[in-house]
Symmetry: C2
Amino acid sequence: MAETPPSGESLLYLTDEQLRKGIEAMFFAYRGFTADPDRILEGLDYGRAHHRAIHFINRTPGLTVSNLLAILGVTKQSLNRVLRTLFDDGLVEARVGKTDKRERRLHLTEKGAGLERALSDAQRARMRAAYRAAGPQAVQGFRTVLEAMMDPEMRRQYLREEGQ
Amino acid sequence: MAETPPSGESLLYLTDEQLRKGIEAMFFAYRGFTADPDRILEGLDYGRAHHRAIHFINRTPGLTVSNLLAILGVTKQSLNRVLRTLFDDGLVEARVGKTDKRERRLHLTEKGAGLERALSDAQRARMRAAYRAAGPQAVQGFRTVLEAMMDPEMRRQYLREEGQ
DNA sequence: GAATTTACGTCAGCCTTGTTGACATTCCAA
DNA sequence: TTGGAATGTCAACAAGGCTGACGTAAATTC
């Protein structure tokens, strides 16, 4: 209800009203964000869950099932259903871990990489258009706010290796 | 594959790699964005779909079912399932339209407003923390990029009345 | 005044993607 | 050698999307 009143340098950007706008921006933008890949996926027999798996396998080839589980934040049963169809359709292959043979290291096949490219091309195109329209300064702010919005655990996943 | 090489003033922020980072930022941040309300919702018999309906009914009291349908982008069958439980539980009430009696104008009840407050308080708290950590400049950029990422139709919903 | 369109509701059935719980296998590590 | 980790799998269920078809009341148009 009550908002801390603006003090010193304008804190007007922390108004409930401003925050509500931010919330809606996330909602509407996320829809746009997923719209293009969704269009590609429909018709194929895949959904967003497949897209996410493919994305992260591509990002980190050789990651294990548990890695992926932690990133996606779903149950193994749920992930397994998705992975099974990706194996069956020859988009993803699993290689037994070298040091630990229990692990299944996940990789995209040629075919899988092809779909990944199609999906991320579509998604990047929208992202690129938005970035270009907004400019580098805005993009910097965009990234900063999103990062601050993540759960700490997810932020770690996000930051991983490369600092930026 | 090939990215337009940096020309004149640095276009490095449009690299495929930078775009991928942006994509993942959206993914991870959206999870944080929904986490707090989700926690409140679970246990009650509601889900994200109920939250969305409640949010927009609160934002625009008296909006019609078709309005809400357009904003949420779901089918009426899907929305109806949600609205029915909200009616039954006395969180939302429908008033017959004054000029057009076919319309059902949606309003939150006291009880509905209570839940709305709980949900948006939680969501705003995270938003506020992120905004505060990032600063007004970054927030401005955040909003700019998100707006550019929306489908035009959604952008119209987003901008509606108040210019900012 | 009759016909059409609009706003809304509802029944039935389907799909994806999430969940829990239980159980088996393989293999690393203490 | 034994416990725990990494993984798979079966079964059942729920939320929340979807389509198609049909119904009704009120507004609009001819």
